[in-house]
Symmetry: C2
Subunit: 422 residues, 2 copies
């Protein structure tokens, strides 16, 4: 085994450029929602070259849409498939799912980017672009790990099921579709950008939209109206208080070093049509974090009650109650015991490659891990090379060294988990 591990490590060290090149090609394909096909084509070609068993399909059948965990406001999946590629084991070993999402969030204000958001520009050992960190870098690390095993002639006992899914950023319909298509395993690694930390627990989350009513008036007599913007400030303050209250209850040591374990993010506000009219309507959209030991319905109820309280205490809201809608994205929280064998073997591999004990924390965001574990009954750990802080930000980037090191750690973990035939 030691010789084989060394062969893999040597191959990976000699073929780092392949990982960088693959990631660059993936980043250069804009795969924002509805545009995933170009990046998937790069993945498909790579899997074909590796000789994996490919399963490529457009999601969106009735089974998926009727599933209780389906949470998605997208209607058209045509031309933007899910991809699963299997490296069959020789038998007798544990199987593993390696799951990455291909979709990326919008680029934001492109003026804030130094390079084109889809340049894949490499400078000082970093690769730049939307998705570099979240999480094409993770997927490239998975593919590089698989390639190293194949190229060094390792025969695994258990199956390796590589998944490149769509829709993670909007609620996990891609991974849910893969689960419903029958893909389960004894364990799963999702290389989301964890800064090389290991996350046995994943925060859940869901999106909300709050409708705030005002009363229109001419801006010159604004005292005759009620500003939906001013009332929205009250709602924002209420959400900030709710976030504070909810986080004060978190005692899990895995959250110890996280400033706000389960944030409530206010991501959008739109109000008003005319500078000199008092706005009569505002929409606030955001994302509510859900603790790993909490359920989605109980978190929703807490926010609904909090807004209900505001409806009762504020004179205007008493007559014009706030309305909340849960729409679009929803990520089920996930939780694996910290002493699960998958965590242990990943940690051991980490220590073997890096020479340090890994940081084990709870994830600050939802991942597809909740669906894999709660619907797919697959134990999940989240661990990847990307930089948490640059995810969703301008100038998103990844440190290529981390990608290579993550590939080594993952390759080693796969060997231990799936077992190697002689």
């Amino acid at each position: 085994m030691k010789t084989k591990v060394n062969q893999v490590k040597t191959w990976l060290n000699e073929n780092r450029g392949r990982g960088a090149k693959l990631l660059q090609l993936m980043v250069q394909e804009n795969s924002t929602r509805g545009n995933e096909s170009g990046a998937q084509a790069i993945v498909i070609e790579k899997c074909r070259q590796l000789g994996l068993e490919l399963d490529i399909w457009e999601i969106g059948d009735e089974d998926l849409k009727n599933h209780p965990a389906f949470s998605c406001d997208r209607h058209n999946f045509e031309g933007n498939p899910n991809v699963v590629a299997v490296l069959k084991g020789t038998g007798g070993g544990k199987s593993i799912i390696l799951n990455g999402h291909i979709d990326v969030v919008p680029v934001g204000d492109s003026k804030n980017w130094t390079h084109d958001p889809f340049s894949g520009h490499i400078e000082d050992g970093k690769l730049y672009g939307r998705g570099a960190t979240d999480m094409k870098g993770g997927s490239a690390a998975l593919l590089l790990a698989i390639e190293s095993l194949i190229k060094t002639g390792i025969k695994l006992k258990g199956d390796v099921i590589f998944q490149s899914v769509i829709e993670e950023e909007s609620g996990g319909a891609g991974t849910l579709a893969a689960v419903l298509r029958g893909y389960h395993a004894d364990g799963a690694i999702i290389p989301e950008p964890t800064n090389m930390k290991i996350f046995p627990k994943q925060q859940g989350s869901m999106w909300f939209r709050i409708k705030v009513k005002g009363r229109a008036a001419h801006g010159g007599t604004r005292y005759e109206g009620v500003s939906a913007i001013e009332k929205s400030v009250r709602v924002i303050e209420r959400l900030q208080q709710l976030e504070k209250d909810r986080n004060a209850r978190i005692t899990d040591p895995l959250f110890n070093s996280i400033p706000i374990p389960i944030p409530i993010n206010i991501g959008k506000i739109n109000s008003g049509e005319w500078p000199s009219s008092v706005p009569d309507l505002a929409f606030i959209e955001g994302r509510m974090g859900v603790a790993p030991d909490e359920t989605i319905p109980s978190a929703k109820e807490e926010m609904e009650n909090s807004l209900q309280e505001l409806n009762q205490t504020d004179e205007w809201f008493r007559e014009n109650p706030l309305q909340i809608e849960w729409f679009g994205g929803r990520w089920i929280p996930g939780s694996l015991e910290s002493d699960h064998r998958l965590i242990k073997e990943l940690s051991a591999s980490f220590q073997e490659i890096i020479g340090e004990v890994p940081v084990i924390e709870a994830s600050p965001w939802g991942t597809d891990g909740g669906i894999l574990s709660s619907v797919g009954n697959t134990p999940v750990v989240v661990f990847g090379p990307g930089i948490t802080e640059t995810a969703h930000d301008a100038n998103e980037h990844i440190v290529l060294e981390d990608l290579y090191v993550a590939s080594e750690i993952i390759a080693l973990t796969i060997m231990k988990w799936c077992g190697v035939s002689n």
Copy 2:
């Protein structure tokens, strides 16, 4: 003269239905910005029937666009003309401009309207619809007053110059175009919705747009980013404080009964693209009131300094300063001494018809009066039948009785001002 006045009053009493019908036709034509032609066609037809000298033209020539008082972000005026209709006097009297704008603001959330916003629905003596009060009702009162003088055979000495202009709601380019075309007079009445109050002074105003920067991040690690929405709340608070400070300085007794003499209205906010991203950009748009004795540049400077202070005291804004842009609408403030002969004659007519002393105040909003007086050298009083509170609001309406009474007052004022030949 007394007989003639009585003839006019009698005619107006017997022909109230004409005013209601005319207003209904005008309201039924949606004349939001860029769509003014239909309502102008109604006005043109009425003026043609009255035998007035019509001047119909598309504004937007170089003289207009190069004028320092021109403040307009509209590029295409084709097909939506300005209308001026003159009733020539016999000579030797004072001339009067009767100015109304045909453009109306957007309807806002149409769900808040009981009837279609362009229904012109009449119920309980009220006529409903966008523009009923602001200010097609005022224009209808002017036309009814002119009609009463013509139909009763009154020969005026001075010219009556009726104007139906576009673009008042966006900064007065229509009235400015009429001034530059050569229309001046010894006095002017603008029947904006004053609740039958007389406004010798008009507040000025202008539009602003503030750009607020944030730093994007994933919503799950929102503490890594800086929310442009949260920073916008700081800006909103600062604008509220500035409004308070500016209004504390207003001592003019004409503002005594106005809760906020020169409001700063925050009319729009837009921020964020994605519920689970920290928004990195916000735009706040609004309208700043300018006191009658203040200049536009000095008011702008005060707001710019106030934001500059925030840029210096807030750590984030120090590195990412707020940017302000003055765009679109701008209304020059106007001021006429309260004992001007035009005010006196209007007040006397008011008292003669209603039997009460009129309320004389400063206007809570900008009107085209600033352009008529400062560019056109025409003394201006603002007085009209509409309901200030319903302007720009859902279910905008006018009390038809007020329209009829305003017609009488205006007809009487015209007779006194222009003089009647025997």
